[in-house]
């Protein structure tokens, strides 16, 4: 992508995001908010998977951890901002703990460990009624209220989500550009070489998990007031697979990949309503076709079209490592 074009595209994109909900029905505003929220979660997973190359099937459980933390705190009367920070902190710490298996195993083994973690989280959320409300979940979480700006309507809530999204994206941009970001990529491309160049791969692996999970927690902190009702089913393994699909379909390792991926998963069903029950089948077939012809996702497909002579080496390297494991 040409450097000079980037800021213009960013401004246009942001303007589109600001205009998008205007004049839409309440339901569409709600869907758009949930798109941005899932984009935040997918952005976190993109850091873990796309940049650092560590597969995780547990992102939904971190959204869950964030959502339950926020719900419990806001229901107890704590304002949203400290609740959100607590949600991120808890997710960060749990993510750090989940990173330890990644120090020992890679590839599909790591996928299974994280998958098991997600299912365990689901079981705990369902069975520990005293904390999580069991299968009935928690409801009636207040929407954040910032004196003059009250998010009880869906339009202000969308702008509130957008603001959080922009801040989160800017932070992520910083992380990806920082020495840490380069270390993440080094870890993905060639862990042994990264290690020999002085990257503390151990710390970087754990960080990749912890930061990715904290983004999951942030998404959870937003889901909780948006839906105002949470139960364990919203954070089951299927949801983690959906988020993984968002990242890969959008383009793992591309900064804006998750935004497009989340659009595919969240917004597309609304456009494909007329197909009724067939939506998921169409979607699944599309994913298989995409994986056959362009494993680096939608953005990768766009790039490959633009630069036909330079196949996506960056992403291929990532895939190659996966195939060896």
């Amino acid at each position: 992508m040409k450097r000079r074009l980037t800021p213009i595209l960013l401004v246009v994109g942001l303007a589109l995001l600001i205009v998008a909900p205007l004049g839409q029905t309440d339901y569409i505003k709600y869907i758009l908010s949930s798109w941005l929220i899932f984009a935040i979660a997918a952005m976190g997973l993109n850091l873990t998977l796309g940049y650092a190359g560590q597969i995780s099937l547990a992102q939904a459980s971190f959204i869950g951890i964030g959502a339950y933390t926020t719900a419990l705190l806001t229901l107890a009367g704590v304002p949203w901002i400290p609740s959100m920070l607590a949600a991120m902190a808890v997710s960060f710490l749990v993510g750090l703990a989940l990173g330890f298996p990644a120090l020992r195993v890679q590839g599909h083994f790591l996928a299974f460990v994280t998958l098991a973690f997600n299912t365990l989280f689901y079981l705990v959320a369902r069975n520990e009624d005293w904390l999580t409300g069991g299968p009935y979940g928690l409801s009636g979480m207040p929407r954040p209220d910032f004196w003059l700006f009250d998010t009880n309507q869906n339009l202000p809530f969308y702008y509130f989500t957008l603001a959080v999204f922009v801040v989160a994206a800017a932070l992520m941009w910083g992380i990806v550009r920082s020495p840490w970001g380069r270390a993440f990529k080094g870890l993905r491309e060639n862990p042994i070489r990264a290690e020999s160049l002085g990257v503390d791969t151990r710390r970087i692996t754990l960080l990749a998990f912890a930061i990715g999970s904290a983004y999951g927690g942030l998404a959870g902190a937003l889901i909780s007031p948006l839906v105002q009702f949470i139960n364990p089913d919203s954070f089951a393994l299927v949801q983690s697979i959906r988020i993984l699909l968002m990242v890969v379909v959008g383009g793992a390792g591309f900064f804006f990949g998750p935004l497009f991926g989340a659009a595919m998963v969240i917004l597309l069903p609304e456009f494909l309503r007329f197909t009724e029950g067939y939506y998921l089948m169409i979607y699944a077939s599309a994913v298989i076709v995409l994986m056959v012809f362009c494993p680096s996702g939608l953005i990768g497909a766009g790039q490959a079209l633009r630069e036909r002579f330079r196949p996506g080496h960056r992403v291929r390297g990532d895939m190659k490592q996966g195939s060896q494991l």
Binding site: P101, F109, V113, A116, L245, L280, P295, M319, S323, L325
Partner: protein
């Protein structure tokens, strides 16, 4: 004691069915480095092929079972390899994992659309009688499931170890390049592996559906259990997958009876995490040179 025997035997029976799915999973991994996230759906689907045979083609049960087996081998073996796995191989591991996840959604939703979301009754293959042994009530179905599954596993092991084709398949799994040089038709052997996997999944489907009924969402738990069995036992060993399957079946039943029903599903998962961290190659597995 009689209760223990009862619980233990029915655990062995379901465990042996899990083992069939887990063995297929292991074979695919060995021969084609394919981690099949749709394995659960592969076990769910053949039961519906049989139901189609019974309700739409009006075939007798035994013929429907054969029909189901053949369709399963063609669709889940041949087509799966040609349409999904083969074009994806040059792209490496992650896209294939994602594609099999998408495939599992496709199969699940497809079944739901075309056959309905309700659980369909599935005819019993074995008589529903029970017998009493030392005070324990044991169903003949459980015993037959166990006998058939173990028979299939023994047959498969003999096939892989004693026949020329079986040995060629093993050679392909161990070292495709050298196998090719020695004149093994590697592509054909990989295809055989896919067919064997589909057949095993179909058998598991026929044995488990009378117990669980045929339902589009059956694959979710079955697939997870098959992965866990394969990993716990050893990802690169048939007997590992067998032991893993039996172990999970028995432990699952014992936990549900004696410890907690709420967390019965948690035990295999905890076992999985512990095994992966403590012995990534599995209980009986040998570590793979390929990983280094």
């Amino acid at each position: 004691m009689s209760q223990f025997l009862q619980v233990f035997l029915s655990g062995l029976s379901t465990g042996s069915i899990y083992a069939l799915a887990a063995i297929g999973f292991t074979l695919l991994w060995q021969a084609a480095q394919t981690v099949n996230f749709a394995q659960g759906e592969f076990v769910m689907l053949p039961a519906f092929f049989v139901l189609i045979g019974i309700h739409w083609l009006h075939l007798p049960l035994w013929l429907s079972l054969i029909f189901g087996l053949i369709v399963a081998v063609i669709v889940l073996g041949l087509l799966f390899k040609k349409v999904v796995v083969e074009p994806m191989l040059p792209n490496g591991g992650l896209p294939l994992i994602i594609a099999t996840m998408a495939l599992s959604i496709l199969l699940k939703e497809g079944t739901k659309q075309f056959y309905g979301a309700e659980a369909q009754p599935f005819p019993n293959i074995f008589p529903q009688t029970t017998m009493t042994l030392d005070g324990a009530v044991i169903s003949v179905q459980d015993i037959m499931n166990l006998v058939v599954s173990l028979g299939v596993v023994v047959g498969l092991t003999l096939f892989l170890n004693r026949t020329r084709t079986g040995r060629c398949m093993q050679a392909t799994a161990q070292n495709p390049e050298v196998a090719e040089i020695l004149g093994v038709n590697v592509k054909r052997m990989v295809l055989y592996t896919f067919l064997v996997n589909a057949a095993l999944a179909a058998l598991a489907s026929f044995l488990i559906s009378p117990i669980y009924l045929a339902k589009f969402s059956n694959g979710e738990t079955l697939g997870l259990v098959a992965f866990i069995a394969a990993i716990v036992g050893g990802f690169n060993q048939i007997r590992g997958a067998l032991v893993g399957g039996l172990l999970i079946g028995v432990l699952d039943n014992l936990t549900a009876t004696y410890v907690t029903t709420e967390y019965r599903a948690a035990l295999p998962l905890v076992m999985l995490i512990v095994i992966i961290l403590w012995r990534p190659q599995g209980l009986l597995g040998t570590s793979e040179g390929r990983q280094v």
